[in-house]
Amino acid sequence: MTDRSPTPDPFEEALAASLARYAAEAGGAGDAYTIADAMLDARRKRRYRIGLAAISGVLATAVVAGIAIGALAEPPPQVGPGPSESLAPSEPAPSATATQSPSTEPTSEALPGVEAPEACGFPDGTALSYAGRSTTSALDVQEVVGDPMSDDPADIYVTWDRIDWGGWGRVRLVCAIFVEPAGFVEVTVHPKDGGRATAPPEPSLPVPSCEPVPTPNQGLGDEPYEVTVAELWEADQCGDSLSEFGNSDLVLTAYLSGGFILDPCYSREPAWLTTCANGFFLQTPESRSGDDVGIQPPLVMAVLHPEVGALEDLQDDIYPGGEPALLRVTAHFDDPAAVECRFVDPDWRGPGPSPSPDDAIDECRNTLVVTVIEPIER
């Protein structure tokens, strides 16, 4: 079933063998009939629950109908057949994240007067948008309660709330209502512990192809090289930032999303090269409108070169009048100071062993250093 590379990597083969032996420590098979009985019991209980849910199912359907009516008045972003349309289970379901663009996210288009079905567990009065019909396997939902790989079509509702992520932006809450052939409506929600929050959707975003692209390091010369945030993001996702851009001056147009501190943060010297303490995001112009912004890819983390000044001193340029300005940014990877980088925290609080000195240099070399910021929009 595996698709190994034609030239086997001895380390990979040894790792695979060790992992197999390690995994075997999990123990032996369970009692198949005991498990089978538990499964049959679970099914019986579910049938009973279906019976009890008949009335609430009707109510939920009424809510769906209400949303459909609302949709006629003000069409929400439509990413698949509407709730009243049928979708054969064998038909490839459209992805709720495949065709939406950031500019049409439902944040500002929640249907007025339509509240989330009570069973979704959203706070009272939460407005939501119908996001189309999809399957949980096609959704970018990591913590779905139920079957994360289900091929069953479901009507998907999304809403946005500012929880857990503080000032970072809005996060998506998802409620999926399965539409089964028998008409039973099952509601699947995320856990109540805050795990409902998923990363903002990545609609219409470039999926990293990791294909080679012409870059300054491949003979395009030493002139400042015009790039996009999406290109930088893709290179970062593919681990290709250095090989593609070297230390060339890169020019891009972007919004800056304020500084942040990640915890745990393993500080580096020089301190200004520490992204987790002094970093910020550069985002595409398309990814934000006003201050109703989600931190979502494509984006790139960056730090300010000390000669530019401190982030706090640039507020008038970055947020003139409190509104984010579109910026013209010059930046580069592989800053000369990177070779002197070292970790300085006395104790590592992150997972696993503390990073090595080489890791510090590697992280610094891969850090995007901004040397010029100019507002181009007032």
Partner: protein, 181 residues
């Protein structure tokens, strides 16, 4: 492939499809056969993800209960194993989230108590795995324990196959560094 081999393969396909059909219909023997065939794989995947036997067992138990009501959604029996392993891996990751407070991370004592019971040559691997995120361990488990292909991994992780290969390469590089120390 000669005709007898083709016939044998056809028999296997039909028996797999038939077994799934009977299990979906509530046949206890068929369900038990499916459990028997896949439980160990699911347990191994879960163990690599969470590094703890008890949590792995609980995760697989939850995965079977999820599977109980969702088996009917598997229209191609050839996908059954990958689907079950995916559900088990997902349950293991969720079980880890529920397990609070998290264990302190300190070399041997920090890794699941199981580490102390491992043979010496696996202890380093256990510690290295503990330094990865659950999502990374999940990727390794599905790849090297469950034998997922890149497209199957991509499907599970909602990434492109190229993205999966790139992430795996980074993981291997990191483990190579850790284990070479």
């Amino acid at each position: 492939m000669n005709s007898s081999a083709q016939a044998a393969q056809q028999d296997r396909i039909e028996s797999g499809a038939d077994l799934l059909r009977r299990a979906v219909a509530g046949d206890r023997d068929a369900l038990a056969s499916i459990v028997d065939a896949h439980h160990s794989d699911m347990l191994r995947v879960s163990f690599v993800v969470c590094g703890d036997r008890e949590t792995a067992r609980e995760a697989v138990q939850s995965a079977w209960l999820r599977a109980a009501t969702r088996l009917g959604s598997i229209h191609d029996h050839a996908r059954l194993r990958a689907w079950l392993c995916s559900v088990a891996a997902n349950e293991a990751r969720m079980a880890l989230r529920r397990r609070r407070p998290t264990l302190p991370i300190e070399a041997l004592d920090g890794h699941p108590a199981e580490a102390r019971a491992l043979s010496v040559d696996l202890i380093d691997l256990a510690i290295a795995l503990n330094g990865l995120t659950p999502a990374d361990r999940e990727l390794l488990a599905l790849r090297y324990v469950a034998g997922f292909s890149s497209p199957e991994l991509a499907d599970h992780a909602r990434m492109t196959p190229a993205g999966v290969r790139s992430r795996l390469k980074r993981l291997l590089d990191r483990l190579r560094k850790e284990l070479d120390r």
